[in-house]
Symmetry: C2
Subunit: 340 residues, 2 copies
């Protein structure tokens, strides 16, 4: 019987000899409704298994109870964990979560955001693509009174709350650890500098060298080296051109994984001849051979905070923006432990 799902507040009102307005208010716990009526209404709603028409409600209210999460990719450890944090938080507040992947394509991202605007989502939690700054679309969302919270890769020319790691300190700490291990010619595998996070990670690398009184060597910088394939290619080049390095610090785990495979295959001893460290603490870093030192960003916490913040902003227009730095942890593993 689909009948039960067709019950509206009108039906309830008629049966209770009252009006839809009262029923609506009672169900929404409007304080202007007496305790008695509220209970009567709710009891009848329960009895008939009344299901509110959320679309009608959203329509009337001019917005949906949906928060969109826009990320480059859901199958990265960082993002799937952040999403988990977001979901659990928003579910509590009865918000729906719409997860959207951009595949790191600025065009897809722009289209998606526009579609979200049309759908009048209440909020967008976004880690922007890393290829190009897609300011316009996001700004349009803000102009349409959609709350936006940025995390991870943040566009700084847009005024929103931001939750992120201190990528600078994190990678500085990682590289310092490598320097303390005695590595002196540390290659840098770095993602595109169109993204703040890679800029910061590179800065951290440089700062660590400076603190150690060591001049970084430009020839050891491999830019746009972020995927496994790119990491492999870089490692191949290192071997072929006989580039003198004793370690690799990568701004992402996948690139250093690629390098690890190539180097291992070439018979190079890790961490003795070449040390390796990545970033993001992808699960595989723990169980590949050798296990790879990496930085855990605590992304579930980031997601949780982002969700809490966007809820606050949605429910209360006056909420001030939040800029929060979430602490992560450097996870030491075999790939950099050449001293005991």
């Amino acid at each position: 019987m689909t009948k039960s799902s067709k019950i509206t507040i009108h039906d309830l009102a008629k049966e209770l000899n009252t009006t839809p307005a009262t029923v609506s208010r009672a169900l929404n716990d409007n304080p202007r409704i007496s305790e008695k009526t509220r209970k009567r209404v709710k009891a009848l709603a329960e009895k008939h298994n009344y299901q509110p028409n959320i679309i009608a409600s959203n329509f009337r209210k001019g917005r949906s109870n949906t928060v969109a999460v826009v990320v480059p990719n859901i199958n990265r450890h960082y993002f799937s964990n952040a999403i988990h944090g977001i979901e659990t938080e928003l579910a509590k507040a009865d918000y729906n979560v719409m997860i959207c992947q951009t595949s790191n394509s600025p065009e897809t991202e722009a289209k998606l955001i526009n579609s979200l605007i049309n759908h009048k989502v209440s909020g967008i939690i976004i880690s922007s693509n890393k290829k190009s700054q897609n300011t316009e679309a996001l700004q349009k969302a803000l102009d349409s009174e959609i709350k936006v919270v940025q995390f991870d890769n943040v566009l700084s020319n847009i005024e929103t709350s931001c939750i992120f790691n201190n990528d600078f300190e994190a990678s500085k700490a990682t590289v310092l650890h490598m320097l303390k291990q005695g590595y002196r010619r540390i290659a840098l595998f770095c993602g595109r500098l169109t993204s703040n996070i890679y800029q910061d990670r590179k800065s951290g690398y440089l700062a660590a060298h400076e603190e150690f009184g060591i001049k970084p060597i430009e020839e050891l910088f491999f830019h746009q080296t972020n995927t496994r394939k790119e990491g492999e290619a870089a490692a191949v080049r290192i071997l072929k051109e006989n580039i003198n390095i004793d370690a690799i610090f990568s701004t992402g785990d996948y690139a250093v994984l690629g390098a690890s495979l190539v180097l291992k295959n070439a018979g190079i001893k890790i961490p003795q001849e070449i040390g390796l460290a990545g970033y993001a603490n992808e699960p595989f870093t723990e169980f590949v051979t050798p296990s790879i030192t990496s930085f855990d960003q605590n992304s579930q916490e980031i997601g949780k905070i982002a969700a809490e913040q966007i809820l606050k902003e949605i429910e209360n227009e006056e909420t001030p923006h939040l800029k929060t730095i979430v602490q992560g942890d450097l996870i030491l593993r075999e790939s950099t432990q050449r001293k005991e």
Copy 2:
């Protein structure tokens, strides 16, 4: 200027000296509207950057242009790939995709489906949780005229389209390969038998033995062994109790990964002393040491087909249900190659 986004078909109608009905029809390419009017309307809409109020439209039509994807987890290779297939397909048709994780919790799943029903999503593409058959909620969705397509773990007592692998044949092929490699005491790591897919994979394991004229050994069955931790525990037990095996076939990659780590740590040679094969072709199976033989389910294709099918069913009430088997591939790797 938020003004532009506030334009409605009424505004357009007024400016064109016509009615909202005509504008609506023109924008929707209703054949009863003349080419000339259609063009005029669209031109003006373009000029004013008219954005339809999708919520209003959905409200009037009584359903949303959203398809939900319900999976236990988005960070499994199988699911994230399937989702990718689904998304690209649905995006073409201007449908929104709502990705929902159940974390394999039947309760979360039931709640979620109910919420989706309230949101009047057009369709649900679901891989049910593997713990318990959650028939009721899904049936309710169907009763609410929501199209449902099942994939992966399928509830057979619900009448829907289903897209899946032939898990039986796939695991039979895998185990046959192991038997051909000379393995004779192949332990079975198996997920919960409340799920069809694990039942089928176990059956495949048994069938392969039968075909080879070998009696499977009950003592080598490890049930509810699916996660990495469970795989590790099983391997530890095998070592401790000195259980005599020469291979492990696991219905999932994570369990066999766990076993691999424990066995390697114990100094056991893989694949010489013990061979390993998993299922799902998680990315890590390729790059761990040794690389792990696994079965690739071609899940992106599964997602694509599921999306196509649900679109057909949504747009045309009469579409018959589809039961499709998608072919996958056995990927041979080091962990089972003890002969050349």
